[in-house]
């Protein structure tokens, strides 16, 4: 039995076929504007390269950095309405207060604060005001906005107001999609609200992208289940991702780090993954991505997801280079259009890859147009690129230990042989490490419900939840022996009688077979 791992980056779509722990083949194809034809190309390539029968493929795992890139580059984000239910509390820090100006502008920066929200003990801060919400909905409609993020104070403990407000506003916004913060994040209103707003701004892109994946698989007669990877290295169903694209954030780095560790056998290392659009730097600790212990910035916006500690910069093989004074590299990238826009392919845009090719570091396309800039200019640009990579790596390095740097990703030709004194390893299949990471994605089982601690102890409740989650994971195809606890959290609901507590618990295991 075989499985396919695919990674859709901003520039390349990579695919691998794995049989157990063996990588049979890895291929790269350009990502296309419609996403689908690039996925089809890489699937065709990878399947024809081995002669494996489509019917023997048991699962396809897709990792995509599409949504992270959209946020980092501030592109393809829908104008979003942020509505916070809180008044009179929380006015001093309005929604998006700590966002960089450019991303605030990219999502429109529209927000409203309305009556509502709960106290910690379940009382209402103020009751929902239907007229006020209808008026807000009318204003949102008048602006032509069709995606709304709703965030109510204490909604992780009581989500009634977010649901009720969505129902009211749908009367005036029948075609809008609503993202409820309680479905995405935990306590910490600013971070949860940020995630909800980003999710809302990505829903249109998500519907388009996920739909394209499904069609791509059907086109080439792959009828096995397909999954999309989440930021903790586990797999999500397609329908789930359409509603919660934000949960794919940082799945790229998780996949590339897990892939890099798998490919090199290194358990402690810095991993630099240079794609076409962005570079992610992370750290492996004992074989797993080092988790961020505090809140994590995505494109300069603070969130409270459980995510790998990753520092991302807008530097990739397709980064647009400005060879004037001052020299600039990125943040805009030609992305998958490098094959038409890059100088080396006959286009008219100078990219980071052109610089590498012009200096003879890499041998792809035509180096001549880049050489016209002159050696001094090319070296100056390369020095800036090196400096960006070294600075990003330094941020992730937390000790003086001589750990290796694992260079992966299609753009890793940009990484020098030595990064701030650390030696660089480029493993076999380095350019498809992400796809390998996706292919080894794990199956999870999750429980999120309220337990009464009137007749059982907290430990017994946790044990019950762990058993339920394990059963779910096994039912979803996880190998029973490989199951381990990934995350557990209990939030006591002080306002409910009977000592109620909300337990969220997640176990993971390897895909059976």
């Amino acid at each position: 039995m075989y499985r396919i791992g695919i990674d859709v980056g901003g520039t390349n779509t990579d695919a691998v076929i794995m049989q157990g722990d063996k990588i049979l083949i890895g291929v790269k194809s350009p990502t296309t504007a419609d996403v689908m034809s690039g996925v089809v190309d890489s699937l065709n390539k990878v399947l024809s390269g081995t002669g494996i029968d489509n019917a023997d493929i048991t699962a396809v795992m897709i990792g995509t950095t599409h949504f992270t890139n959209a946020v980092v580059e501030r592109r393809n984000l829908s104008t979003t309405a942020a509505v916070r239910l809180c008044l009179p509390a929380a006015q001093c820090l309005p929604p998006m207060v700590d966002w960089p100006d450019d991303i605030k502008k990219a999502v429109g920066g529209h927000y409203w604060m309305a009556d509502g929200g709960n106290e910690f003990d379940g009382r209402e801060i103020s009751p929902l005001n239907e007229d006020q919400l209808l008026k807000i909905a009318d204003e949102i409609a008048a602006l032509g906005i069709d995606t709304v993020a709703l965030c109510s104070v204490f909604s992780p403990v009581n989500d009634d107001m977010e649901k009720a407000a969505a129902d009211i506003m749908r009367k005036r916004l029948p075609d809008a999609s609503f993202t409820l913060s309680s479905e995405i994040g935990r306590l910490g209103i600013l971070e949860r609200e940020n995630a909800a707003i980003m999710n809302a701004s990505l829903r249109k892109l998500s519907a388009h992208t996920v739909g394209a994946f499904g069609s791509a698989l059907k086109t080439i007669n792959l009828n096995c289940p397909y999954y999309i990877t989440q930021n903790d290295g586990t797999l999500m169903s397609a329908k789930f991702v359409q509603e919660y694209p934000v949960l794919t954030f940082a799945s790229g780095p998780t996949n590339s780090m897990r892939g890099a560790s798998f490919l090199t056998g290194e358990k402690n290392a810095i991993v630099i993954d240079v794609g076409g659009t962005s570079t992610d730097v992370g750290a492996l600790v004992n074989g797993f991505p080092r988790p961020a212990s505090t809140s994590v910035d995505v494109g300069g916006v603070r969130t409270n997801f459980r995510m790998p500690d990753v520092y991302s910069i807008a530097l990739g093989g397709g980064s647009i280079v400005q060879a004037d004074d001052p020299i600039a590299v990125g943040p805009r990238s030609v992305g998958f259009r490098i094959h038409e826009m890059g100088l080396l392919f006959g286009g008219d845009t100078l990219t980071a890859t052109d610089v590498a090719v012009g200096l003879g570091i890499a041998d792809i396309g035509d180096p001549e147009p880049a050489k016209e800039l002159g050696q001094d200019m090319l070296l100056a640009i390369k020095a800036l690129i090196d400096e960006m990579i070294v600075n990003a790596s330094e941020r992730m390095r937390v000790s003086a230990d001589e750990i290796p740097v694992l260079a992966v990703g299609g753009g890793s030709i940009l990484i020098p042989d030595n990064v701030a004194g650390l030696s660089v390893i480029k493993p076999e299949h380095f350019s498809v490490a992400n796809a390998v990471g996706a292919a080894i994605g794990q199956i999870s089982g999750e429980v999120d419900r309220i337990f009464s601690l009137a007749s059982i102890t907290r430990e017994e409740a946790l044990e019950t939840a762990r058993k339920e989650a394990t059963a779910k994971a096994i039912a979803a195809g996880a190998c029973p022996e490989s199951i381990e606890l990934l995350d557990q959290e209990d939030v006591p609901l002080a306002y409910l009688p009977g000592n109620a507590t909300r337990i969220r618990l997640k176990v993971v295991g390897d895909l059976d077979g």
């Binding site: 929380a90 001093c92 801060i125 209103i189 600013l190 505090t294 000790s399 003086a400």
Partner: protein, 371 residues
């Protein structure tokens, strides 16, 4: 200690460091300073200033008010304030006493209440004093040095986000200020601003913990600099504070619940590195109170128990504790004002329900014996 120019003003560029330093001194509690930092920044962006006055420059007869937010830390990151709770409480006090307040001081430098007096001072156009009443965070107001040494906090004024104002006109003793304020704040939704009866400058000079705004700023700068230079941030904090590394480890269990507006619980830590095989346990009552290694008490309140992210050196407060976090547990010595018998009667372990624990000042770090 390197002598440096006295702090006169907190600038936008200082806010990150002050927030980190305040969270370290918060020993897990005091509320997350991030929110307060943003609120200070909003004030500065409106063109207001945060002026700082060194304690020794206070005139003896000036009126200094300690004020801050009161509530539960979990509430603080979820139900953010309306914004002028403390200012309303301060104005209510001025009206009630027919006086003009000259400067504000933080009751606790640890956590969000380092920030609240700064942003209120900016709103009111008066300076904030470089010092505080704890040199750390404590869950209750009578645990301030000035309360311990005789200041009467009533009348105190409380204001919530809804426009309610309550004045505690007179109380039997300092504990009653806390008891009544606490009952009130639960009714107010576990978040309110409170301003205490003014103190004279001469009193503040004697009984405040000195220069703690400066301390928070330089602690935060030490962590940020270690991150910039890739040196060990844990070592930077220890060197800075004459502290001791208790343990490095991973959180393997976490229990935390709200009890009357307080976060109560404990974490269990499995040691790694030099501490492989050690089982650590930290008790929480809003702050980290007691550290035990293999069931034996090693450090307890009022000395500071600090939990930092082992890699970044950033402080981890009780509300963001998570299963699986890799942490460093540090002990830092408290101010001498908190180690006297009068102080220990109020802030010693027995005050937190640990009748069986006797406070022993934490041993000085061997590494810093020469200093």
């Amino acid at each position: 200690m390197i002598s440096m120019a006295k702090l006169r003003e907190v600038l936008d560029s200082d806010l990150d460091a002050v927030a980190i330093g305040a969270a370290i001194l918060g020993t897990g509690g005091g509320g997350n300073p991030y929110i307060g930092m943003l609120r200070c920044r909003e004030q500065l962006r409106k063109g207001r200033k945060i002026d700082v006055i060194p304690i020794d420059e206070l005139s003896d007869d000036s009126l200094v008010v300690s004020l801050g937010g009161i509530g539960a830390p979990v509430v603080g990151i979820e139900k953010i304030e309306q914004g002028e709770e403390c200012l309303r409480a301060m104005r209510a006090l001025e009206t009630d006493l027919d006086c003009k307040i000259d400067a504000l001081i933080s009751s606790e430098i640890g956590g969000s209440n380092a920030m609240e007096p700064m942003l209120t001072a900016a709103q009111a156009g008066i300076p904030v004093v470089d010092g505080d009443g704890m040199g750390r965070a404590f869950p209750e107001m009578q645990m301030c040095t000035w309360s311990i040494y005789g200041h009467v906090s009533a009348p105190s004024a409380m204001a919530d986000e809804k426009g309610n104002i309550v004045i505690l006109k007179s109380t039997r003793n300092e504990v009653w200020v806390e008891t009544l304020a606490r009952a009130n704040v639960v009714a107010m939704g576990a978040a309110a601003g409170i301003a205490m009866a003014p103190m004279r400058g001469s009193y503040v000079k004697k009984f405040a913990v000195q220069s703690t705004v400066t301390q928070a700023l330089s602690l935060g700068n030490a962590v940020l600099e270690a991150q910039r230079k890739n040196t060990d941030p844990i070592a930077a904090v220890l060197a800075h504070e004459d502290g001791r590394l208790l343990m490095t480890g991973k959180i393997v269990d976490l229990e935390r619940h709200l009890k009357g507006g307080f976060a109560v619980g404990h974490i269990t830590v499995a040691g790694f590195g030099d501490f492989e095989g050690d089982a650590g346990r930290i008790d929480i009552q809003n702050e980290f109170l007691v550290f035990r290694r293999n069931d034996k008490v090693e450090v307890c309140v009022p000395d500071l128990i600090v939990v930092l992210d082992v890699d970044t050196g950033l402080p981890i407060t009780t509300e963001v504790l998570r299963y699986g976090q890799r942490i460093a547990v540090l002990a830092l010595p408290c101010d001498d004002l908190l180690r006297t018998p009068e102080a220990l009667a109020v802030v010693g372990p027995a005050s937190f329900g640990y009748e069986d624990i006797t406070f022993t000042p934490m041993p000085k770090s061997e590494a810093n014996d020469d200093s």
